[in-house]
């Protein structure tokens, strides 16, 4: 229907415009939907190689029982009778590195977040924020190098040597420390956002009750922001669990039940790099086991991220 005052050609061009827009809209929707497709593809690839393989391939769990995978404490991904496929050595290696990293990143990240929100002046903050971003931008492989060539020989060996402790060249401690440094900026910036979102009125009220700056920070602001801060810890932990290159370089490749942080261990990610770079055939058990490890890693990080996201959402609702 022609609009009042408009000619027919106007109307046609408007119609053409609309069709044009529908095409663009659809195209952009496809772009956005691609991310869902990616997730679907990841899940399909992991499942089809680990759980149930279509066609003539044999999936990992068609050769190895889930019970063995979850209960055995040995990891020897080789063909034949000597093969042992318990996830625990890799899982414990991963957890050890991630826990050590948390011991580094939680105090450093939270301290930095509190310092930047509560103490640093605007100019100091303008210096600190880009510096932390710079730290966050350093590639993982560089941290691996730093752990192997500096932290272990120049820091751990001399210091722990004084205590008569024997530090291996490859060890979980150095890997954990550098991963901790790596994820510190993540905790710092997420916690900073959360702490900053605590209303100013709450701080003023605390001051008005005769609080010192320490009381305001640690007894009012941080407790008020606690759930959000917790979410940032979890996110950093999940990042540490998925961290690959630094760990593959520094922790070594020995899949043992890791109990000693001064010895080498292998993490899930470390094993995956190892398995994919070896020359084993595509359908060898070593290759296939990579998918089982991959699915464990995927589920573990997804779970932690979901919990963290849930906490963060609830926190935001509280202050809006």
């Amino acid at each position: 229907m022609p609009r009042a005052g408009g000619s027919m050609s106007d109307w046609f061009s408007a119609k053409k415009n609309r069709r044009h827009e529908t095409v663009i809209r659809t195209g952009l929707f496809v772009c956005a939907a691609l991310s869902v497709l990616t997730t679907g593809a990841i899940v399909y690839v992991l499942l089809s190689n680990a759980v149930y393989a279509p066609g003539d391939k044999t999936a990992f769990f068609e050769r190895v029982t889930v019970t063995e995978f979850l209960t055995s404490t040995q990891w020897k991904p080789v063909e034949g009778d000597r093969g042992r496929f318990g996830i625990w050595p890799l899982l414990s290696g991963t957890m050890m590195v991630a826990l050590i990293s948390s011991l580094v990143s939680i105090p450093a990240g939270l301290g930095a977040a509190i310092y930047m929100t509560e103490y640093a002046g605007p100019r100091e903050r303008q210096f600190l924020k880009p510096m932390l971003e710079l730290l966050a931008g350093i590639p993982s492989v560089v941290f691996g190098f730093f752990a192997l060539k500096f932290v272990t020989p120049w820091l751990l060996k001399p210091v722990l040597g004084l205590l008569n402790l024997d530090v291996s060249i490859f060890n979980s401690l150095s890997a954990g420390i550098v991963v901790g440094v790596m994820v510190t900026p993540l905790i710092a910036s997420l916690s900073e956002d959360v702490i900053r979102s605590v209303p100013r009125s709450l701080r003023e009220a605390a001051h008005a009750l005769g609080s010192t700056k320490f009381d305001v920070s640690m007894k009012v602001v941080v407790p008020a922001a606690l759930s959000g801060i917790l979410a940032s810890f979890l996110l950093a932990f999940s990042r540490a669990v998925g961290e690959t290159m630094a760990v593959a370089i520094a922790a070594g490749g020995n899949p043992v039940m890791a109990m000693n942080p001064l010895k080498g261990s292998q993490t899930m990610t470390g094993f995956m790099v190892h398995a994919s770079t070896g020359d084993s055939a595509a359908d060898s058990i070593s290759r296939m086991s990579m998918y089982a490890v991959g699915i464990t890693l995927f589920l573990l990080t997804l779970l932690i991220n979901l919990i963290s996201g849930w906490i963060l959402r609830r926190y935001r609702e509280e202050y809006q």
Partner: protein
């Protein structure tokens, strides 16, 4: 509670209350601890840079940039990784930027709030947390078979009819395992969530008054987005996208999975100097399908070299200096974009 008059005289002078003196000391200690924690992270950054630079000095020479891999650490260079990373990032950017910015525009400007869109949003935030090595598995298991079937198409024996007029022979292309294209496709998936989220933030920063004003003047939704919103958000998008793409330069895990070369004495397409690229631009066609290595992969390999005298340590350190140098240049570019845009546009 006691009455007003019964109270002893109050003093507000500092130091009159011993308990408070202790509390204030606590506060001071706490502040110092927080400060030390903050600066210790930066100190680690300094030590890292310092030790890498120190260790790299013995190998950091112009020929490090122009030499190939060598068993002899003194002659070992990063040329293959430099070109490999260059092509990888170029292709990654070419794929991830249009898709990423497009997704962001859709989600921020066009999407209705229905189930599917909410699914995309939730999925996106979770995808950003998936470890990059998992994308490597996807590349290894999905993209490589794809390339193998492509290889059978480009085997040089086929031809197609164009409108029944010409018969065009399909050229023979050698598609290698672990090619630049597979690497870039994998890497695109890794950085896509970051590109999308950064672009979304830039679009969100554009005040809605601009949209309303444009729509009120009779522009259609798309005209508004294309002519007003995107230009206004462009500096923000550019900054975010540059930083996301720079992630792709430092990432090694996903491309390790797809079977990238760890020891390489060749550059993709055989292009070793920019001059060569100018003289024979056609050789670029072979680049995406060629094997490659990348700087972080080489650094990984050098760090792990079992060399009794640790001579490859210096090579790895020199590689890191080059890698960090490249990243620094890119980050500086992003900062300049941000600073210039900040001066021009002020809401």
């Amino acid at each position: 509670m006691s009455e007003f008059v019964d109270q002893p005289a109050v003093s507000f002078r500092q130091g009159t209350d011993t308990l408070l003196r202790r509390r204030l000391l606590n506060a001071k200690v706490f502040r110092t601890v927080c400060m030390l924690l903050t600066y210790s992270s930066l100190a680690v950054l300094g030590v890292l840079m310092g030790s890498v630079l120190w260790s790299s000095l013995s190998r950091l020479a112009p020929d490090f940039l122009t030499n190939h891999y060598s068993m002899n650490p003194v002659r070992c260079g990063i040329l293959a990784g430099l070109w490999g990373s260059f092509w990888l990032v170029l292709l990654t950017a070419a794929m991830s930027i249009p898709i990423g910015v497009g997704s962001a525009v859709y989600l921020e400007e066009m999407a209705a709030d229905n189930f599917l869109v909410r699914l995309i949003r939730i999925n996106l935030s979770n995808l950003a947390g998936v470890p990059s090595i998992v994308y490597g598995i996807l590349g290894l298991s999905a993209f490589r078979p794809l390339m193998i079937s492509l290889q059978t198409f480009f085997d040089g024996t086929r031809a197609i009819n164009v409108l029944g007029l010409f018969r065009v022979r399909i050229l023979h292309l050698e598609i290698f395992d672990g090619s630049v294209l597979i690497g870039a496709m994998t890497m695109s998936l890794v950085i896509l969530p970051i590109v999308i989220i950064a672009s979304q933030e830039a679009l969100r920063a554009v005040p809605s008054s601009i949209r309303v004003a444009s729509l009120a003047l009779g522009a259609t939704r798309w005209q508004t987005i294309w002519r007003q919103v995107i230009p206004a958000a462009l500096p923000g998008i550019a900054t975010g996208v540059i930083l996301a793409v720079s992630r792709a330069i430092g990432e090694a895990a996903p491309i390790m999975m797809i079977g990238v070369l760890t020891v390489a004495s060749m550059c993709p397409g055989g292009i070793e100097t920019p001059l060569q690229l100018l003289q024979d631009p056609i050789s670029v066609i072979a680049v995406p399908f060629d094997q490659f290595t990348a700087m972080p992969v080489e650094i990984y390999d050098w760090s792990k070299q079992p060399d009794p005298q640790d001579r490859f340590t210096d090579v790895a350190a020199a590689g890191i200096v080059v890698l960090l140098g490249v990243l620094l240049i890119i980050n500086a570019a992003a900062m300049i974009v941000r600073a210039r845009a900040g001066r021009r546009i002020q809401w």
